[in-house]
């Protein structure tokens, strides 16, 4: 079970600390239902950082939605076990919900109607009894499933707590030594606990470019000056592009949009980058990378990581629109596809479905736009561990996950599926597949393929 599969559950906040244990069962159940919904976005740590002071007194509907599952588990940990309270109320005989509306059917016939004959009466009683039993069984199964999910969530909570402890007390204090240890790498694969995510990303992306917070401030200042003086046409068009895209970056989150808390911060980061690297400028896709970093890091740290991330070979080639290198990456990927999923490879070849059609978005946004944010965060975690290889291994993983559908689909259906991945994509299964791809290769197969490809083309 990946540690971050329920990112909401680790938030160290409770907006519902006054949530009473005497709340009636219906409400309680509703809150359970909410807490059992599959997690959608890896926002927990972001909200923790952004609204720590605010939420203590904030009982708005929005905070209720955001933090309801947290408070539930905190209660659970503080002794008032929610799981056990659920157990006690889940007994079919005590639980009014387990009878449902069928319980309202009258046992005996109203006096103003003629009496039933005894056989009919008995038959109806049996039928009624069966209906009740059936209903109880259904409710019982539902409750058991719910309990199971809650247990799983509790277990994940504990795992995350344990992992957080290892990260903060063992790994991070001796980063340079422990980052390479097998134990660290295995734990890393499970995804990072949100509370250390930003720090680990920052450390592992590194700062080869020696970017400093002062440089960020300077770039930002210059970007603003240039904009006011209207010199530098390139910058102007870049800034215009950034403005257009801020609201179109994770629009469902509502924090980067006009009036949202991170609208200006994202704009600042991107325009400072344009000033820092006028040779690259603003290229679409960057806003998603910057936004993902901002969800986990303070702005100057996010800028440093962003600049260094874009200097890695894969992103560097793509954001510079270096077509020769991009073609090499595609060719390397196709070789990997051919060896890993030969049927899909041949099928796509027949359909003329080239890898650029689906890989572009995956690469330009490092999956942050393509996968649900909690899953994308885990991809980023492991990307920080493994580097560019992982992006292509995840791609193979996705194709394998949908292999049977893809093999039956024509061009348009395959292309639509891959450029618009289902929201309910099974992240746990995906990572299992990706792990298997990695399992039998000592050195990354993709690197080998790519090296080979470069050699053949005389690039080395």
């Amino acid at each position: 079970m990946p540690l971050n599969s329920n990112p909401h559950s680790h938030t160290s906040l409770s907006s519902l600390s006054n949530y009473s244990s005497s709340t009636d069962f219906t409400e309680h159940t509703n809150s359970l239902e909410r807490s059992c919904e599959p997690p959608r976005f890896g926002l927990a740590s972001f909200w923790t950082r952004a609204f720590t002071r605010k939420t203590d007194n904030d009982h708005s509907a929005a905070s209720w939605k955001l933090f309801s599952r947290t408070s539930f588990f905190q209660k659970s940990r503080s002794g008032q076990s929610s799981c056990s309270s659920l157990n006690s109320s889940s007994s079919p005989t005590l639980n009014p919900r387990s009878i449902g509306s069928t319980g309202l059917i009258l046992h005996s016939r109203p006096s103003f109607l003629p009496a039933k004959c005894p056989e009919e009466e008995l038959h109806h009683q049996i039928l009624h009894h069966k209906l009740l039993e059936e209903s109880q069984r259904r409710e019982q199964t539902k409750l058991q499933e719910k309990e199971k999910r809650i247990e799983e969530l509790c277990k994940q909570e504990e795992q995350v707590a344990a992992a957080t402890k290892i990260w903060t007390s063992e790994i991070l204090p001796q980063w340079e030594i422990s980052r390479k240890l097998r134990k660290t790498r295995d734990l890393w694969w499970q995804g990072l606990p949100p509370s250390v995510r930003g720090q680990v990303w920052k450390l592992s992306i590194g700062n080869d470019l020696n970017v400093t917070p002062e440089l960020f401030a300077l770039c930002l200042e210059r970007a603003k000056e240039k904009l006011i003086n209207c010199d530098g046409v390139g910058l102007e068009s870049s800034v215009e592009g950034i403005k257009l895209d801020l609201s179109r970056t994770f629009p469902h989150l509502g924090i980067f949009q006009t009036g949202g808390p991170y609208h200006n911060v994202l704009g600042d980061l991107l325009s400072a980058y344009v000033c820092f690297r006028p040779d690259i400028g603003y290229v679409q896709g960057m806003s998603f990378l910057a936004a993902t970093l901002l969800l986990n890091l303070e702005v100057s740290d996010a800028f440093i990581s962003f600049s260094n991330l874009l200097n890695r070979p894969l992103l560097h080639a793509f954001f510079r629109l270096d077509h020769a290198k991009m073609a090499d990456f595609y060719a390397g990927f196709e070789a990997l596809l051919k060896s890993q999923l030969p049927k899909v490879y041949s099928h796509f070849l027949a359909l003329n479905l080239t890898p650029d059609l689906y890989l572009q978005e995956w690469i330009y946004t490092l999956y942050s736009r393509s996968l649900p944010l909690d899953l994308a965060s885990r991809v980023w975690d492991v990307y920080c561990r493994d580097g560019d290889d992982l992006i292509f291994r995840i791609a193979i993983g996705i194709l394998k996950l949908y292999e049977s559908t893809l093999l039956e689909s024509d061009f348009i259906h395959s292309a639509q599926l891959l450029t618009n991945l289902p929201e309910d994509i099974d992240g746990i299964k995906l990572f299992k597949i990706v792990e298997q791809i990695g399992a039998y290769q000592e050195k990354s197969r993709f690197t080998q393929m790519l090296t080979h490809h470069f050699k053949v083309k005389g690039h080395t």
Binding site: S237, V283, L321, Q416, T419
Partner: protein
């Protein structure tokens, strides 16, 4: 579902002019006020009926940013129709039409039908490009012109269907070699007049506009 022809379309134009919204309105009959930006290329499909024949439209929706022009160029290949879109509230998107058109003409087959679209016609108060200017540009370059609104759906059906009708007429005239897939036209599994429940003669959308 069987179809007589498959036409490949490509939607091009500056970033933020509403290319993806036009596609969504055409395929799903809905409007998303805040749409994600398109990176790379996205796809849509819908069945329409022209002259009693089922025609499947396979639509490639491209990224509009100038940096990606070099990528978009490779997607013109094999397109039978192109929707060249600008935003009537942003003059610069109209000014860039010439370069878009050059790209399209240079990298597509010479018979590709190009429809010029001035989108966001619902935002009359913010209009920066007159309708007459769009018409003049279209006349000058031999394009079909239409103002649309992906928000209100005004003219969206017409834009896609009229383009298909033009392509269809070119096929009838023998301009398109339908056996050469590089023209962006494929013969369907049943290249026969389709069943009786579709109106003949006129162009009409298939039921519900379901993706196919």
């Amino acid at each position: 579902m069987s179809y007589a022809y498959l036409f490949k379309y490509i939607i091009i134009g500056d970033t933020g002019v509403g290319k993806s919204c036009l596609l969504l309105q055409f395929t799903d009959k809905r409007f998303q006020p805040v749409h994600d930006l398109t990176i790379g290329v996205e796809f849509g499909a819908r069945m329409i009926t022209i002259d009693g024949k089922q025609i499947k439209l396979q639509i490639w929706d491209t990224a509009g940013q100038e940096a990606f022009r070099s990528i978009t160029r490779s997607y013109y290949r094999g397109a039978a129709g192109a929707l060249l879109v600008y935003d009537i509230t942003r003059r610069d998107t109209f000014n860039h039409l010439t370069t878009w058109l050059e790209d399209a003409r240079q990298h597509s087959n010479s018979n590709m039908v190009i429809m010029l679209i001035g989108n966001k016609s619902d935002l009359e108060s913010r209009r920066e490009v007159k309708k007459e200017e769009g018409e003049a540009f279209a006349r000058e370059h031999g394009l079909v012109f239409m103002e649309t609104s992906a928000k209100t759906a005004a003219n969206v059906e017409e834009a896609f269907i009229n383009t298909a009708r033009e392509i269809y007429e070119k096929i009838q005239e023998g301009v398109f070699d339908i056996n050469n897939e590089a023209n962006g036209i494929k013969l369907g599994p049943q290249h026969l007049p389709s069943n009786a429940n579709t109106p003949s003669g006129g162009a009409s959308a298939s039921q519900g506009g379901a993706c196919c």
